[in-house]
């Protein structure tokens, strides 16, 4: 399964403060670890929202609003796309990340929809699969 791992913006990141050399070194090492573990599919840092824009939808109307945006905590400063086996594994990897900001900061973990994400009928379908699996195992035993 895939996760988007989102580094939340802070006052510093929104002000365009560049990371210290020490943080850059630690982050490079961390990114190398992610690549070596075979889980990293993508990852980028984002410019402050002052360079961004928003398009607001209201029925057929489209309003363009230029950055910067006020609610810093809701903004993002960067992201990764990881392929891991579970949400817990993503959490474990995030815990190993160096603090991405000079002050307090937050990283959010969100699962990406997959082709085989289960729908509402998950439970009956799963039961059916379990039944098939048991049959298959019986068949294998007879071989």
């Amino acid at each position: 399964m895939r996760f988007m791992v989102i580094v939340k913006a802070t006052k510093d990141s929104e002000a365009g403060v560049m990371p210290s050399e020490q943080l850059l070194t630690a982050m490079t090492k961390y990114n190398e670890d992610l690549a070596k573990a075979g889980i990293m599919l993508a990852g980028e840092g984002l410019h402050p929202s002052s360079k961004g824009a928003r398009v607001r939808f209201s029925g057929p109307k489209r309003d363009v609003i230029d950055g910067p945006f006020a609610e810093t905590k809701e903004l993002i400063a960067g992201y990764w796309i990881w392929q891991v086996r579970s949400r817990e594994e993503a959490i474990e990897w995030v815990k190993r990340c160096p603090n991405p900001m000079p002050g307090d900061s937050e990283i959010e973990i969100r699962q990406i929809f997959d082709a085989d994400d289960f729908g509402a009928e998950f439970t009956p379908e799963l039961r059916e699969r379990e039944a098939r699996l048991v049959q298959q195992m019986e068949a294998n035993k007879k071989k």
Partner: protein, 420 residues
């Protein structure tokens, strides 16, 4: 944190750390079974302590420390301790006194340990099934139960397979090392084969299968990327990663909403996974830089890349695909490769030349009953306007296939020939 959450977190830590942990332990104790036992003991200790004490800041180092303590206990308590074992116990103790900072110790050597572990688990002394099970267990961090579910076999079968594999490695005195020299290429081929077997097992999963099965594709890609990181100079490793990622990029598009397979040329290319394509193409570039992407995996990856690069089916560079198949036929001779080359040549505009190749492999025992050979030949005859022969060939292909839906399609094409 509630106990169930801590257990889930411990599972995750295990997934991340187990290969490094077991690799390092095998290096020290020189015995896979014992190393895995010690690692499991450390895991049990974590399951006992972490729910109450919390997850340590560096869980990998904690597990390593715990396993080393067990190792020391183990060697001390062995009644008939041989000199060799005393020596190991002594080394363990001095190592601990000398280097309490397991952080660095872990980071220094672990890469090589994991690579050694991969080569050992994939040693040709083992059957392919045994290599697969051992690799998923030791390097993939999968439990026996997970492997059994993915392979639709009972758990005891896998457990036994793993035990036997470990014994076979011990019996054959397989050294815990990364092979060098002449041996290396063959041993690496064995590792690559295992990873690709795992991938194909996942790729062949069908709708309704246990979700563990398609997950095998991700496990295989991950193993491939780990190997690429550990052996970055090996072109074929990058070739295999490219091949797997480019094939996996089409997983979403290859089955219709009603569960029927969609052939590559009919797929909705907007549903291909462009992130994986980008990754696969980058891996292929690395293989090209290293040796011109001349090995079998890289060549297959290059063929997959021709499809990935074409924005529409009509834009496919069939001439290049035909050349790549010719090269593949040279390094990995096989009638199936020749059959694919024939189709590519026909697609590139020369069905007569394609038919010549198809007929040239007609006598090969694997082709005689192979429905794809029969249907490819029928298709080429139809393209050449030889309707009567094409109709007979489609009917023959329909008689060979075991797939009901394929049979319908082939019989429909046979009927079409009467009207043309």
């Amino acid at each position: 944190m509630p106990a169930t959450e801590t257990h889930a977190a411990i599972d995750a830590v295990w997934r991340i750390e187990s290969a490094k942990l077991i690799g390092a332990l095998v290096r020290i104790v020189r015995d896979i079974s014992l190393a895995e036992e010690l690692a499991q003991d450390a895991l049990v200790a974590a399951l006992q302590q972490w729910p109450s004490e919390g997850i340590p800041r560096n869980p990998g180092a904690w597990l390593m420390q715990a396993a080393k303590h067990r190792a020391i206990d183990h060697f001390r308590h062995r009644q008939r301790a041989e000199r060799k074992h005393e020596q190991v116990a002594y080394e363990l103790e001095t190592e601990q006194e000398r280097a309490p900072d397991f952080d660095t110790a872990l980071d220094d050597d672990v890469g090589d340990d994991v690579l050694r572990l991969m080569f050992t688990a994939c040693h040709p002394v083992l059957s392919a099934d045994a290599r697969v099970a051992l690799t998923l267990r030791l390097i993939g961090g999968l439990t026996t139960e997970e492997i059994a579910r993915a392979y639709l076999v009972p758990e005891p079968t896998i457990a036994q397979r793993i035990v036997r594999a470990k014994k076979a490695i011990a019996r054959a005195r397989v050294p815990f090392e990364v092979p060098r020299g002449a041996d290396r290429a063959a041993r690496l081929a064995s590792v690559l084969e295992v990873i690709y077997l795992v991938f194909n097992e996942g790729y062949s999963a069908t709708a309704g299968d246990d979700w563990m099965r398609p997950q095998l594709c991700e496990d295989a890609m991950r193993l491939g990327r780990v190997l690429a990181g550990l052996a970055p100079g090996e072109a074929e490793v990058h070739g295999l990663v490219a091949l797997m990622e480019l094939q996996a990029s089409r997983i979403r598009a290859r089955i219709s909403r009603t569960g029927e397979p969609i052939l590559l040329l009919d797929q909705d290319r907007s549903r291909w996974d462009h992130l994986l394509i980008q990754h696969g193409l980058a891996a292929l570039t690395r293989a090209e830089q290293l040796d011109g992407a001349s090995g079998p995996y890289a060549l297959q990856g290059a063929i997959a890349a021709c499809h990935a690069r074409a924005r529409t089916a009509a834009e496919t560079d069939w001439a290049r695909i035909a050349r790549l198949y010719a090269e593949l036929s040279r390094v990995m001779p096989s009638p199936v490769v020749e059959l694919n080359r024939a189709v590519a040549i026909a697609m590139a505009g020369d069905p007569a030349a394609g038919l010549g190749i198809v007929d040239a492999i007609a006598d090969h025992p694997t082709m005689r009953e192979y429905p794809h050979w029969a249907s490819a030949r029928a298709d080429l005859l139809a393209r050449l306007g030889r309707s009567d022969e094409a109709r007979a060939a489609f009917e023959r292909a329909a008689g060979l296939t075991k797939n009901a839906r394929d049979r319908e399609v082939l019989l429909a094409r046979a009927r079409e020939q009467e009207h043309s």
